[in-house]
């Protein structure tokens, strides 16, 4: 018995230590990046003194603003389209049976499995084949294709928690299919749809590989600009500015999924006009 107990306590002691190390492994790189964005030395990863020079340099960099504008245009449009498409798709998948459903599902989730470089190259070849000039349009087309499956997954997860007898109750009280959809189904799905949109945002905003292949040099969104800066920094050593850029991008993109998490978890969340139902 004594061996069992000592074995257990060793195990119980070693485990939290390992967990701590893993969390350190996950977060330390990002924290160090953030910390050194305030370092006065650009390339050297050793503390030389506090400085905001990299932020000043970054905010004065006109390419940044252009790239941000492009990113927001692409991602904003993508989130709108893919949320609408994904919600419709999730509804159809959850509620109805139809011919070819399994085939449809496997194609739908394909963009989540295909290696990004393959999808990116294929889209590049496709746009060249159709002679569509690469730019904002091609980026949006590609982004919707790989963001929609994510939206479907998130909305489906929400649907699993809905009591569908509510739809029957609405029809029983005299609401036809369309009124039921707008007065009952959509309000119940709202938190799921919102969460999906909030997750779709960083998903599209942060994508680099596919975007890289379907855009033109003149239309570089933020990730492509970051990539070009990283390539340049290997030689020129402008790492401080990338640290600053990375810090800003991390902080901003982390806020959205946190908000999504809160929305899904929160028990009561009232805004004028609608209210989130309690989780069952």
């Amino acid at each position: 018995m004594s061996r069992g107990v000592s074995g257990r306590s060793l195990f119980a002691m070693a485990l939290p230590l390992l967990i701590l190390l893993v969390y350190l492994f996950i977060y330390a790189p990002l924290f160090i990046l953030m910390l050194f964005s305030f370092n006065s030395a650009g390339n050297l990863a050793w503390w030389q003194g506090f400085s905001l020079q990299w932020y000043e340099q970054l905010l004065g960099y006109d390419q940044l603003w252009k790239a941000l504008k492009i990113s927001l245009m692409v991602t904003g449009t993508t989130v709108l389209i893919s949320t609408a498409l994904g919600t419709l798709t999730a509804y159809a998948l959850y509620r109805w049976r139809f011919w070819g459903k399994r085939l449809f599902e496997s194609v739908l989730y394909l963009p989540l499995y295909i290696p990004e470089v393959v999808l990116g190259i294929s889209l590049l070849v496709f746009f060249i084949f159709l002679r569509i000039p690469r730019g904002l349009l091609t980026m949006i087309l590609a982004h919707v294709a790989f963001t929609t499956p994510l939206v479907v997954l998130v909305v489906l997860a929400r649907m699993q928690r809905i009591d569908w007898a509510l739809e029957e109750a609405a029809m029983d009280l005299g609401a036809d299919e369309l009124v039921t959809l707008s007065k009952v189904t959509l309000p119940l799905l709202w938190p799921g749809i919102l969460a999906a949109a909030l997750l779709a945002f960083p998903w599209s905003f942060n994508d680099f590989v596919i975007t890289y292949f379907v855009t033109s040099p003149g239309n570089a969104p933020l990730p492509v600009l970051t990539y070009n800066l990283i390539l340049g920094a290997r030689r020129s050593g402008a790492m401080g500015m990338i640290n600053a850029l990375g810090t800003l991008m991390t902080v901003v993109t982390l806020l959205l999924p946190l908000l999504a998490l809160l929305l899904v978890r929160l028990r009561r969340f009232s805004l004028p006009g609608f209210r989130f139902p309690r989780r069952r």
């Binding site: 790189p29 160090i32 290696p115 190259i121 294929s122 680099f208 998490l261």
Partner: protein
């Protein structure tokens, strides 16, 4: 909305086929045009003959696929293994395998701890694990480059200044660097399915195991591991599939010395203008991924049956 349009919509909605077509046609259209059609074009190109200056000649051939494996010896005219690409494939598969193994070894204890000892804050712990996944992939890779560079990277500076090493060590632009980047990026892909399957596990079964006199390691080996088979399977696939097709991590952290399949595909298109061969290579990568997924769906179905019986 006019009464006419309303009744039209209503009768449409009542018709199962019509409503499915109307609801799904935008997505089907989008997927067909921007996922399926591009892949089909690449498949078509992979069967064409590559001409000089990047031209594609419409002679259907399997030569591009053949070139993935064998090449003609220019002196003797005999076929011999094409080591140039075979090494790339082997390196990709090996690195993906190593990444998967490390992610499982590190991820399992983490998932186990969160699922069994996480208490009230389980959701928070797992949330902290997923959170960095939503930050920019590029920024995360850059953060590691900032840590690993020599001699000015953080780790080298730390070790040099504390006197642990005298000479800077090379951590970046070699397979180690790529491996670190891949483990870092794909660890959450392992932890989440492992956590999900361990969370579902019936605790009383574990208690019974102790009650029957099983030692901790026996319990882990005989009870916990077999019961979380489904999670291990999902974790392996979810890490392996993106690792084997990785492009950006070797591109930035491998310093052109650790080329994986994805990098060669991109090079064939962007640098060498050899679309036919690049397409064949892309299809080869797709083939590996598809085979893995099919295997996974087959295995997971049997794992599910196993779990449901419990």
């Amino acid at each position: 909305m006019s009464a006419f349009r309303r009744s039209l919509l209503r009768s449409l909605w009542r018709h199962p086929n019509a409503r499915t077509v109307v609801t799904l046609s935008p997505v089907v259209f989008w997927l067909a045009l921007f996922v399926v059609a591009p892949m089909l074009i690449v498949l078509y190109y992979s069967l064409l003959t590559g001409g000089p200056y990047g031209a594609l000649l419409p002679h259907l051939t399997l030569e591009n696929y053949q070139k993935l494996f064998v090449t003609e010896n220019l002196r003797t005219g005999e076929l011999e293994p094409n080591w140039l690409y075979l090494t790339v494939f082997a390196r990709s598969l090996g690195l993906a395998l190593l990444t998967t193994a490390i992610c499982l070894l590190v991820g399992y204890p983490v998932a186990y701890w969160i699922a069994l000892y996480g208490g009230r804050f389980k959701g928070l712990w797992i949330g902290l694990f997923v959170l960095p996944f939503w930050t920019s992939y590029l920024v995360r890779i850059f953060a590691w480059m900032f840590l690993l560079r020599d001699p000015s990277g953080f780790i080298n500076q730390l070790l040099l200044r504390t006197g642990l090493i005298q000479e800077p060590i090379q951590l970046l632009y070699n397979p180690t660097g790529v491996l670190i980047g891949m483990v870092y990026t794909y660890l959450p892909f392992a932890v989440i399915p492992l956590y999900a399957s361990l969370e579902r596990l019936d605790r009383s079964v574990l208690e019974v195991a102790f009650d029957l006199g099983a030692r901790p390691w026996q319990r882990l080996w005989r009870v916990t591991l077999p019961l979380s088979r489904g999670g291990i399977l999902s974790a392996s696939v979810l890490v392996f599939v993106p690792s084997v097709g990785e492009y950006l991590i070797p591109d930035l952290m491998g310093g052109a010395k650790v080329n994986l399949i994805g990098n060669v595909v991109a090079d064939k298109f962007l640098r060498d203008q050899n679309w036919a061969f690049g397409s064949a290579m892309a299809m080869g990568l797709m083939g590996i991924v598809m085979a893995l997924l099919l295997l996974y769906f087959k295995l997971s179905r049997s794992a599910q049956v196993f779990e449901r019986q419990r």
